[in-house]
Assembly symmetry: C2
Homo-oligomer: 421 residues x 2
């Protein structure tokens, strides 16, 4: 057991911050044991790490990150989604059949995610099994919790970057069997790229694997207008894009869908009914000129939401930066809706990027008793005077103005994460 | 004379980048002398600073920065403009009657602006003359080019933060006389806060001072819907908000107006006719839920545009970050307008944050012959592989993903800027 001492702040619900000034966050067996203003008698002898005036917050949770697009971030944003995929994304992803390239770049990805305080992440790899296993291994060594998905695509894809249906399913099955119990914090996740790139047979086969081996699922949904029309033309028999995934057996409470910018009421309703997660990726939605997700309508409908960086369409690796982007986007939606769809408060945005997405990983993203001890220590002394500000204000200021230099310590399941090498 | 060697890139017009790989940028008497692939015979003996693979770009130009709001950045964005002014801004600005406070905080401002590679900035101070002079002195010592404005406000302002009309005018006059020829690169600028806070008499008096002493003018325009309605109710006889400034004599080619989110066609037309500048502040416009400026319509009308951070309503000090925000905002406008108002390209955004705003300072923001030698050296080796990318792509990646750590050298008028102390 040990305790971190400092100014503890987190969200157990979206409405407000829980603040414990100058208190002890106690860990036992990798979980949160409790928060104490004064340590009780039976904890008097545990090791204490005193972080003084620093903030102690839950680690960040990223629900959507394309690891092989790391080399592309900040580039090519003059294109929309479908052109961007063909011009930038697929050619880069195809390089990952080279294991040396994968090793070199994926190490950089782990380092950058570590630097920015993300302690749990849902990653998309490429169609290559070996590179995917390399990525899993690197995240295991880094100590970061991760779902890692080998991408599946068997139609409407470039000749140089496509699989046959049978090959895609059999390789995925072998990879799942090999990796599902291999690491404590890194797990495989079924990853059909998106409806246009996956045949019905492939999607149904992947759903069978997910059910048989109890594997989570991630994909993309209603990101861009053209893409939505494309899906409609491929599958006119289904009511919405999400109804296609649903019919294939891919939409359940273990599913996370990224984007959902163009979801109508029926799609939102289905996502709520299936208890699926949505990864809100405001930054990427700006960069590819996709649009702004009507976030408030999802929240009101009870859909489970977390945040995603969507690297490489998103250019920011820090989920704290995506929080401010999500707030900004929600303010535009508020204006667009005639001030009906309320914009996000800071505590709501923080919740989305910690416990909101954390639910996809279990009891993650909060400091309630029994939650995984995933924590960050934030030294914000360079960001302005501290003594005239409340803990909430200081956290808000870090979210807007801070960067990786302010994150001075990272814990996952109670263990300190060293910089990945 | 001296030369910087590296990969030189800038925009002499918005449409495209000018790129000179592995070339020499030659300085003479603080101005750009020329760019050479090979140094000609008569320049063989000048001092050469070789920056290898690094990028060499013009310094950034920020047309709107509230220096006394630095302590507030990243805080209070749950409010809209008018509440935010009363709750956060005015109480903080009032503190600047304390010269020690002003000195301590304004030094931080200079340091942060230096760190982020802004080499020219139009600053708003407070109503306090002494603090304003302190700010001018600090920027002079830092070597950064700056217009610095003592703020004027004589109505609709809190009791603790207001001036009488006579006092405001006489203090401003004395301050102008004392400072207008004091520094080579730091100059006073007339700064009526905004129409609601300035009586007609004050505005007309300030216009007289501006004309008499040939002083530039800065203020705020059509930032927020409520504010626009307020101005309409105060001055129903004028067609638009800008027509009020115009009638007072405050709108000319030496004027920069920040925001212009809610300008209609008539206001845009007037700004174009008067050859006035507009500071586009997308970040602040998001944070205070003001909205998105219809930038393309201003550009098409021929209005002169630059970028502003609008610290503290904006939370980013780096103009490169405002460039990506401006591109993102323009993409939402593009969607909103049914894809009619074209979004910004990277070269257009870069132009706005260098030469676009630089025109307010003279021949600034470009590497054309005779322009001020204001330059930054960008080392981007941590941002991804360099050899597989073009110089344009590397600059785009720095704009989206870089930070102050990538800026390894800053020059203004040919002189290296050391970190302000």
């Amino acid at each position: 057991m040990k305790a971190l001492k400092g100014n503890i702040i987190f969200t157990s619900s979206p409405e407000k911050f829980e603040v414990f000034e100058n208190s002890y966050l106690v860990e036992s067996k990798g979980k949160v044991y409790g928060i104490f203003k004064k340590l009780p008698q039976h904890l008097k002898n545990i090791k204490i790490h005193n972080f003084g005036k620093s903030l102690i917050i839950p680690g960040f949770v990223d629900l959507h990150f394309h690891a092989p697009q790391f080399q592309n971030i900040g580039i090519g944003y003059d294109e929309e989604l479908l052109e961007w995929l063909n011009k930038y994304t697929f050619p880069e992803e195809a390089k990952y059949d080279n294991e040396e390239y994968a090793k070199r770049l994926y190490k950089k990805v782990a380092k950058e995610i570590w630097r920015n305080g993300t302690t749990r992440v849902s990653l998309l790899s490429t169609i290559h099994r070996n590179a995917t296993e390399i990525l899993m291994d690197i995240f295991h060594k880094a100590g970061i919790g991760a779902y890692v998905g080998k991408v599946n695509m068997d139609r409407n894809s470039p000749d140089y970057y496509i699989e046959s249906t049978e090959e895609s399913l059999s390789v995925t099955k072998d990879w799942i069997l090999k990796t599902k119990d291999k690491y404590p914090l890194v797990k495989p996740i079924i990853t059909p790229r998106f409806v246009p790139a996956c045949s019905e047979k492939l999607m149904r086969g992947l759903a069978d694997l997910a059910e048989k081996y109890d594997i989570k699922i991630q994909s993309h949904l209603s990101e861009n207008q053209e893409e939505v029309e494309w899906v409609k033309s491929l599958h006119p028999e289904y009511e919405t894009y999400a109804h296609v995934y649903d019919a294939m057996g891919l939409l359940n409470e273990d599913t996370v869908m990224a984007h959902a910018v163009y979801s109508n009421e029926k799609e939102i309703e289905l996502l709520a009914e299936r208890k699926s997660f949505v990864a809100h990726c405001p930054n990427a939605n700006y960069n590819l000129a996709s649009g702004i997700m009507p976030l408030r309508r999802f929240i009101d409908a009870g859909v489970k939401i977390g945040l995603g960086t969507d690297v490489g369409a998103g250019h920011q690796v820090g989920i704290y930066k995506v929080m401010s982007q999500a707030i900004q986007a929600s303010k535009i939606k508020w204006l667009e809706s005639g001030k009906k769809e309320e914009y996000l408060t800071t505590s709501e945005a923080f919740y989305l990027g910690t416990k909101g997405g954390g639910r996809f990983f279990g009891k993650v993203g909060s400091f309630e008793k029994g939650y995984s001890f995933d924590a960050l220590v934030i030294d914000d002394k360079n960001l302005g005077d501290r003594d005239i500000r409340s803990i909430e204000e200081r956290l808000q200021r870090f979210i807007y103005c801070g960067d990786d230099r302010n994150i001075i310590k990272r814990y996952v399941e109670g263990k300190v994460l060293c910089e990945p090498i």
